[in-house]
């Protein structure tokens, strides 16, 4: 006697539909409206470029933090899945930072690209731009040069 085969369920629930739906809602309602025109996009890019990783707080000044718009955007960009996510590899200590691509699973190869920068901040900003471009393209918005 042999057991009958098993057909896994192909339901919306199994595909985590709600999460994707609400994530999309949050993007469209709360993040994209601030990115619809070129001027707004340029302002956010400039803000990130000036402060790619935060800085120490100095007495008499507020802690250097992002605007609400950039905060919401960057938090969204930072939680993309690990597979294919950009990373930074220190190829020469304190001198050369190479953009890498994560494999998305343990033991996989971290691919080093040809893209290199002299500082960690510059590498961080370039990754921000890549992610922003990918994010906007999901919604049919082309990131200007």
């Amino acid at each position: 006697m042999v057991s009958k085969g098993y057909e896994p369920p192909k339901t919306a629930l199994q595909k985590d539909y709600s999460f994707t739906a609400v994530d999309d809602y949050d993007s469209r309602m709360y993040i994209l409206p601030d990115l619809l025109d070129q001027e707004s996009r340029e302002a956010i890019i400039a803000e990130h470029k000036a402060n790619p990783m935060y800085k120490g707080t100095r007495p008499g000044s507020p802690a250097p933090m992002y605007s609400k718009t950039l905060t919401k955007l960057i938090d969204k960009l930072r939680v993309v899945p690990q597979k294919g996510k950009h990373t930074i590899v220190e190829t020469i200590p304190w001198e050369e930072y190479t953009i890498g691509i994560l494999p998305g699973h343990r033991g996989g190869t971290v691919k080093l690209t040809e893209e290199k920068y002299n500082s960690r901040g510059e590498a961080e900003h370039s990754i921000f731009l890549k992610r922003l471009k990918a994010y906007l393209s999901q919604y049919g918005i082309e990131l200007d040069k």
């Binding site: 057991s3 790619p52 707080t57 802690a63 690990q82 699973h105 343990r106 590498a123």
Partner: protein, 804 residues
């Protein structure tokens, strides 16, 4: 198998002990990825931070007999926990039945969606020769029986139904050599309470219930002399590596272990092997017994192995010996420390500890990434020369003498003063339990939350890439196994690649743990203080009498993992007039238990409370190593405030801020500490960790949590950014606008408090409440107000007579 990685560290290693005294010997075990020769030297590590903004890297070459070139050897690590039952001819069976309960956690893929491949439950299987037998999960997640008759002559019989993750099953298979009959079954065994976080409503059950009855054409399994392995099969029966000593206290001689494969992830309970094809009712009877109690006489002699995982878990579940209750007494040994004392198929949720109900905790959880000991060959040794200064040292390894990030590694160790002959009045206790707990996290490569926590893309160095290729070298308590369970064991008998000088840690804008502690080591050296170095392991063994040899005791920047005994020893030191500087934050936080038979291995259970990397599963709160409730010390009524005056309040693994003086600092009891520091002068608005002295993790006073009633507030930090969040144990209701949901710029509890108080017999405690403090000591060539305050405190604590 891992894929190749070009740019990565090519050499690494570990030592057989952390701390040594003059005259004692330390062994180093080295792996050279491409079998390249390497130069080994002994260096004293002084400052490990390579940041050009600071003093730079400092080490001192020590001339020893170690200094020479050594041939490199590639020494793989054979990770994955299993039980080894040595071969015996009884196990070369003709007919047989295997039965067990299993709770698979990666039946097909792991939590990253990667196929795990076939996994053995109980096997006497030779992978290369394809002989023997066993029950496995095949790569479609189905239970199967495999019988091997030699190369290319393998029969596999599967149930045809996938096993589901996080569900208990009765499983078994039988073969009758006379008739050739084969039976294989997997039957879900789901109760309201036994699934942990798995389903308790399985409908329809037929989706995963499977059974086949068929025939073998090739007959009796071919014999082999492989051991029986539970949760693995044999790739190579002789690895040249043995288990003996330490946590293998029941072994009277070394036992050789195989190279294993087909590693299982999940729980197994009541595995049994019989030498005939049993009926369904006989199999049910065996499944109902822990051993072979209540088994009728005619069945007893058929049972070759009945491994009862409950039989030696009482006060603790630390034993590595697995008792066989059958007549053959074929006891097994755990390898790579699977987790004992975990809820079994009959867990009722009534008893939350194996101590109270061992019969409900008869399962063992296996993980294919566990490592208790790398078991590498020793490469070279050092007998510590007499007169060698106490300090932090390293065996520096350089492939072909090349100093580059890919070709250079350090194996840190600590030299103590001669026994009972302290060479200083100050002692620094290195946080070795914390170094082990933080070992080998894979956050940079595998954690989605990493960038949210830190506010930046993680920076990978060559050691991170080697670690990733090697799938973690056993990982550490800041990550999970590939089945989603938290890693709760950490051994120091393997490379700990994030415990190195020059290493930039993901959890900090710069440094963390050992490398950050070298900021303090460097400052002490620059200030010309004589200091004796000891480790937490040493304190664990030697108690308060070790501390009492010193007028002043310092901690490193993050002594987060503390044993019950150490809590007592520090308290006793304070009560007896000791003067203590806590130069840290989030210290004395997690209950940490060294293995009772091998302090090179620690255990930490990250309970359902606390700022943590993972949450314990139901019924798994109690430490296997001591049978007591695990998690936060706070939960056991020993909040860190009682020892330190401050409690963990907030963390933000990003840039730092500074302190402001508080009014108590002007009191006559305290003003000596602030001498040379102006009333309005910001303290520590500089530093190598996030550009400030207040950062990473922050502690504040709290009278409700045990801050002594006469403690003084010397200073507090301000200006933390919005990446700083409250610790989770402070949150009951999490409401916007209230403390628990606030961030650095909205929550007044997000701060570090510098607290000072006196203890009996002219003792005292000085707590800085920040992990970034020591990173500020070297600013402006060590001329700064953080350095000044430290010097005031240490000099004051060293002076005789009562404090002001």
């Amino acid at each position: 198998m891992s894929s190749s990685q070009d740019f990565m560290l090519r050499i690494t290693g570990y030592s057989d002990r952390f701390s040594v005294r003059p005259g004692e010997t330390i062994n180093f075990h080295v792996h050279s990825e491409n079998e390249e020769s390497y130069q080994a030297d002994i260096v004293r590590l002084i400052h490990g931070d390579t940041n050009p903004d600071g003093p730079g890297f400092k080490e001192e070459l020590i001339h020893t007999s170690v200094s020479e070139m050594y041939p490199g050897k590639n020494q793989p690590i054979h990770a994955g926990s299993y039980i080894l039952v040595p071969h015996c001819n009884l196990f070369n069976v003709s007919s047989f039945t295997i039965s067990a309960y299993i709770y698979p956690t990666t039946p097909i893929v792991d939590v990253e969606g990667v196929n795990v491949g076939s996994q053995a439950i109980l096997s006497k299987w030779d992978i290369k020769k394809e002989t023997g037998y066993g029950i496995f999960i095949n790569d479609e997640g189905q239970l199967c029986l495999r019988i091997g008759h030699g190369s290319g002559k393998v029969e596999e019989f599967s149930t045809g139904k996938p096993l589901f993750r996080k569900m208990w099953y009765k499983v078994g298979a039988s073969f009758d050599a006379n008739s050739g009959n084969i039976k294989v079954f997997q039957r879900p065994f789901v109760t309201n309470t036994n699934g942990g976080h798995g389903m308790s409503m399985l409908n329809p059950i037929e989706d995963t219930m499977g059974m086949i009855e068929t025939s073998s054409y090739l007959g009796t399994p071919s014999q082999n002399d492989c051991p029986i392995l539970i949760a693995a099969s044999t790739y190579e029966k002789r690895s040249g590596r043995t288990i003996f000593g330490g946590h293998y206290k029941d072994l009277t001689e070394p036992l050789e272990i195989p190279i294993h494969a087909e590693k299982f992830n999940g729980k197994i309970e009541r595995p049994k092997l019989s030498n005939r094809s049993l009926s369904d009712s006989e199999i049910e009877l065996l499944l109902s017994c822990e051993g072979i109690e209540n088994v009728p006489n005619e069945l007893r002699s058929s049972i070759l192995g009945a491994w009862d995982f409950t039989s030696n878990i009482v006060e603790n579940a630390a034993s590595q010996t697995i008792i066989d209750k059958s007549l053959s007494l074929s006891h097994g040994q755990c390898v790579n420390m699977p987790i004992r004392g975990v809820p079994g198929h009959n867990w009722s949720s009534k008893y939350m500890s194996f101590v109270h109900a061992p019969h409900e905790y008869g399962a063992i959880h296996f993980h294919d990434e566990s490592v208790d000991d790398a078991r590498w060959e020793s490469s070279f040794s050092l007998k510590i020369p007499n007169g060698l200064k106490s300090g932090v040292y390293g065996a520096r390894l350089r492939v072909n003498r090349i100093a580059s990030p890919e070709t250079e590694d350090y194996i840190p160790f600590f030299v103590r003063p001669p026994k009972d002959k302290p060479t200083a009045r100050i002692a620094l206790i290195m946080s070795t339990f914390a170094y082990m707990a933080y070992a080998n996290d894979n956050l940079s490569v595998n954690s989605v939350i990493a960038q949210l926590l830190t506010g930046r893309v993680p920076l990978l160095q060559p050691e991170d890439l080697l670690l990733n290729k090697e799938r973690g070298y056993g990982l550490g308590t800041y990550t999970t196994y590939r089945d989603g369970w938290g890693v709760n064991i950490s051994s120091r008998l393997r490379p700990i690649l994030n415990m190195r000088p020059k290493y930039i840690h993901i959890l900090s804008p710069s440094l963390w743990q050992l490398n950050a502690d070298l900021h303090l080591v460097d400052w002490l050296e620059e200030m010309d203080y004589d200091v004796d170095f000891h480790t937490e392991e040493d304190l664990q063994v030697e108690g308060v009498e070790l501390l009492k040899q010193y007028d002043v005791v310092l901690t490193g920047h993050h002594p987060e993992y503390i044993s019950e005994e150490m809590m007592d020893y520090y308290h006793d030191y304070q009560m007896q007039g000791g003067r203590w500087l806590y130069l840290a934050a989030n210290g004395f936080y997690w209950i940490t238990v060294p293995h009772p038979d091998n302090p090179n291995i620690i255990e930490v259970r990250k309970g359902d409370n606390g700022t943590r990397a993972w949450t314990i599963n139901p019924g798994e709160y109690c430490n296997a190593f001591d049978g007591k409730h695990g998690g936060l010390w706070r939960v056991r009524g020993r909040a860190m405030c009682k020892l330190l005056g401050v409690s963990f309040s907030s963390f933000g693994l990003t840039y730092s801020s500074y302190y402001r003086r508080a009014p108590d600092s002007e009191l006559p009891e305290c003003s000596w500490i602030m001498e040379g520091i102006g009333l309005d002068e910001p303290i520590g608005d500089f530093g190598l960790i996030g550009d400030g002295a207040a950062g990473l993790e922050l502690d504040r006073y709290d009278l409700e949590l045990g801050t002594p009633h006469r403690a003084y507030l010397l200073a507090h930090s301000e200006g933390h950014n919005d990446m700083f969040v409250s610790v989770s144990e402070e949150s009951t209701f999490h409401a916007r606008g209230y403390f628990s949901a606030g961030t650095g710029e909205t929550n007044p509890k997000t701060r570090a408090d510098i607290v000072y108080y006196k203890t009996p017999k002219d003792g005292a405690v000085f707590s800085v409440g920040s992990m970034a403090w020591c990173g500020s000591l070297s600013h402006n060539h060590y001329e700064n107000n953080v350095s000044k305050m430290m010097k005031n405190v240490i000099d004051g604590f060293l002076s005789s007579g009562p404090l002001p």
